[in-house]
Symmetry: C2
Subunit: 400 residues, 2 copies
Amino acid sequence: MTVSGTLPLSGIKVVDLTRILSGPFCTMLLGDMGADVVKIESPGEGDPIRRQGTIIKGLSTYFASFNRNKRSMALDLRSDEGKQVLAALLEKADVLVENFRPGVLDAMGFDVARLDALNPRLVVASINGYGSSGPYAQRPAFDFIAQAMSGFMSLNGSEGDTPIRTGIPACDLVAGLYAAFGIVNALRARDLTGRGQRVEAAMVDSIMSLFAWYASDHLATGEAAVRSGNDHPITAPYGQFTASDGEIAVAPSTEAVLERFLAEIGLADVRHDPRFTTNTLRMKHRDELNALINTRVLADTQANWVERLNRAGVPCGIVKNLAEAFTDPQVLHREMVLPVEHPGHGVVRMLGFPVKLSETPCRVRHPAPGHGEHTAQIVEDWQLSCGELLARQQPETTAP
Amino acid sequence: MTVSGTLPLSGIKVVDLTRILSGPFCTMLLGDMGADVVKIESPGEGDPIRRQGTIIKGLSTYFASFNRNKRSMALDLRSDEGKQVLAALLEKADVLVENFRPGVLDAMGFDVARLDALNPRLVVASINGYGSSGPYAQRPAFDFIAQAMSGFMSLNGSEGDTPIRTGIPACDLVAGLYAAFGIVNALRARDLTGRGQRVEAAMVDSIMSLFAWYASDHLATGEAAVRSGNDHPITAPYGQFTASDGEIAVAPSTEAVLERFLAEIGLADVRHDPRFTTNTLRMKHRDELNALINTRVLADTQANWVERLNRAGVPCGIVKNLAEAFTDPQVLHREMVLPVEHPGHGVVRMLGFPVKLSETPCRVRHPAPGHGEHTAQIVEDWQLSCGELLARQQPETTAP
């Protein structure tokens, strides 16, 4: 293997049994890092995401965006032949990733003992809602349910309001990211021990791991968390203010930054107002203080405030919508929007790579695959001796 | 190295220059996986988190919770002697992690060329707000500002309301997690190429990478995203309902699941009501339908509904607060609350490990360090020939 063209996971073979979102996100991260990801899809139906989101010339841009750098093999895992082909794949693979409900893989005939017998070096990763054992293991789990059960929703929204979810599927995707992190670690462990192992990421665990001070404070004191909307729970002023053309976010995190903020908006004197001389007093009179600040902020535009306040060293930003965020010069500079050519369908614009490596940068080696597009190619590349089995389990040719 | 006791990152030496949250979270993930993490702290002050959050017998439980599996070395990086010790550490290290503002490390005398000269195998990871180049590289960045600038806030909250942040520092921590993922990948790349490289995770990029269908739909169509609060943007009914003792989350994702849901709450007939026969109609009359559902849901408790609906195969959960989440039997089964003994301070209960490995599971090898606790030990372990330099840069002994 030459150094040029090498990626961190070059040479790593991944059998990807996942569908929908958490698992495909995980395997995309592995593919972006250079793994050879073989996406197994049932003949006919395939990944349901192929029929969701915006469809352009028959291609789901949602599917395209989260299945780049993978190849697709059509395999009927309900048939004996399909299972034999899967076994042949697993003998050659480094990693298996699945996001079935716990127990489904076992019921298909691929329990721990079988997998170990097939390939003791295999890393077997599972992504699920609650984990594969314990009282809730068999419950159906969705991102929204994990947001609720984890306590995450209780931390969002304003004090008087109801708990609120985040719109993005954070539990799905953070679990997928942890699974990818666990897999690469398990591959390193295999370098040391010679053996594969199981890796598991659950949605509830994953989102709870991001609770930071909410977790440490609650576990130390038992006290309930304060839901503080866009305000900071223990610092004022800090939050969202209204400029002449929209909202800005301002985070004056220290007394020194606060002084610069107030000076820049023409309220330097406010710190001598007896209502606002300390953070404790400012928390008590936050509504009055925020109202006062808004009278000044309203006098200029978002862009001007962000320019002025950043120049003054005050952390500050526009509260952007997606159109603004995806055309932001910094976001474009970071190549967070990638145009990817899909032969026969045109260009799909998708999210770029979230982590940047200087010498072996992630790249789009191939666009998201057509359904079953690479079945024959994978048989050849992986030197599988099961071409006939495949033909038998799969009478119809599945077109891209 | 024996197999028992081996962890995925056993033998990996990490020099950790990070403070506060995003960086320490990243290096904790590496430490949990077995890396030898040396946390560099300025004499006297150290990591500011040592003075934040709930303090018990002089120990910040916030600090304790996110600095386990690290050792602390006191080093004055403003002094020549301190810089020489850092150089000596970097010659022996595998990984350097920093979350300074871009340019600070260079200004300290450790630019790319110097680091490469010191140790061409070194993986150098940076975590920052916007990335180390581009128009915003020098802006101060905070989690809240990244939530605003990325467009993330615009996806949260109800349609008529203002955009809303999530309470948790999601941008900080997801960036830390991506950096950890990038680092382990860069270590694998080094196995192939023999060389280290730079790894960078920016908060804005990191949170945008979780936008899923919001990103793919917007980039395909240019249309604005709908902010739908706790409702599903394109499916009804789906969301938060009110039981007799609190809120539950219900996600009937298909017609079949919806049928089971309505049957279980005694509203089987509702699907024949001309207002509700299709999803399109149900979206149109969502308020009426939700009100109808709430009349039934109100008749039983959260626990009973979750039991009944899960038994019926309807994804469902209690909208828990932190006290409920951290005493949940599944969360405890998953060991997501870890009691860690801190000699002299007692037990600190903290979050467990988010990703589970069966053969080399993460474990607490040592609690969060006292400030500068391991300075001498590290000089010995890493066989640094700079004991005298250390003594010179650090006249005062820094107690834990």
